[in-house]
Symmetry: C2
Subunit: 201 residues, 2 copies
């Protein structure tokens, strides 16, 4: 299968997930969002699960590229990089439609039944956690985070809070922007006052 065809199919998966969610999603829904017939879809991907795994692989590549861009834009300050990673991961629904967030939570809830999904979801977490830990470690080295901070443990807690912001937003409509603000406040409070100077008043 050519790259263009593959990209068209996987983009159609994203559109169909936003509209129909995961549980209700059919191969026909995906075909309807592309110029590819349902028969051709089945030729390339045996099952909806295979298609979703390819979609999750593409999502990983796109997510890590967005994190690269966010960190690069934040410049040299490790605290700014840390904040940029959180902001990039918790974009409010205007930029990242609620329909897509819901579909991702549905896929997460299927992970215990689909080991290939769980592998991909765990890879996303491991990548994000490593980047957060690197930024926290760099902040520590520059005296912008307390010596007592454990970068890996803190990064893991941030990843948990990010999961929570998404899940809670879907389950109850709690605004992701509020959860993001709370997480950024928590991280900001860890920065020693003498390291931030006038910035924090």
């Amino acid at each position: 299968m050519g790259e263009d065809r593959r990209e068209e199919i996987l983009r159609a998966v994203g559109t169909a997930l936003r509209t129909h969610g995961y549980a209700r999603l059919t191969m026909q829904d995906i075909a309807d969002e592309s110029s590819v017939s349902k028969a051709a879809l089945h030729y390339h991907f045996d099952t909806k699960q295979d298609l979703l795994v390819a979609f999750l692989d593409r999502l990983y590549d796109r997510f890590t590229a967005r994190l690269d861009a966010a960190e690069a834009a934040a410049g040299d300050d490790p605290v700014a990089r840390l904040e940029a990673l959180v902001e990039c991961t918790l974009q409010p629904p205007e930029d990242d439609p609620a329909g897509f967030r819901t579909a991702v939570l549905e896929i997460q809830a299927q992970a215990p039944f689909e080991p290939a999904y769980r592998d991909r979801l765990a890879n996303v977490d491991a990548h994000l956690e490593a980047r957060l830990a690197a930024a926290i470690g760099a902040a520590k080295d520059r005296g912008r985070f307390p010596d007592s901070a454990d970068p890996e443990a803190l990064a893991s807690f941030v990843v948990t809070a990010i999961h929570g912001a998404h899940a809670r937003g879907v389950a109850t409509g709690h605004p992701v922007a509020d959860a993001r603000r709370a997480l950024l406040d928590y991280l900001g409070d860890l920065v020693p006052a003498d390291a931030t100077g006038a910035e924090t008043g």
Copy 2:
């Protein structure tokens, strides 16, 4: 419907959810877990959704009763009460099987499509958040939490982290016990050193 019959049916919903998950759950699965026929189930509850709403109402009652018991057992110290609430909400899978946790996440992911689910899930959060805020407020009043702590904001952040611990556990297998430890450490770090004295070394 008598209370015994109702309780038997709703207990069967819980058992069937643990085994089959939510997406795959049928009225027949629920009937199979009780002495009630599928026809009788349909007589009492028109749809799977109606049955799930009744189940979520029962879950709310049982959850709030567990929180009552946990707080009462923790005694008078508000920090101990706060920790007891977190521990009660994030029991490791030995006590709260992964199958049930997964089913709850599936139900959360359906909330955008089922307003009656969302109402119930939001009620659980509101109840937990109010209790956490009350414990944090009491801790502040006794000098066991910093004056700068905002009980409502902090309680909301804790609820988000609890959502995250559950969702992450289902999605990637990240141990709920680790996420609970991280959350308890975070809360413990907020207690001023002079308020805990020798307890924290």
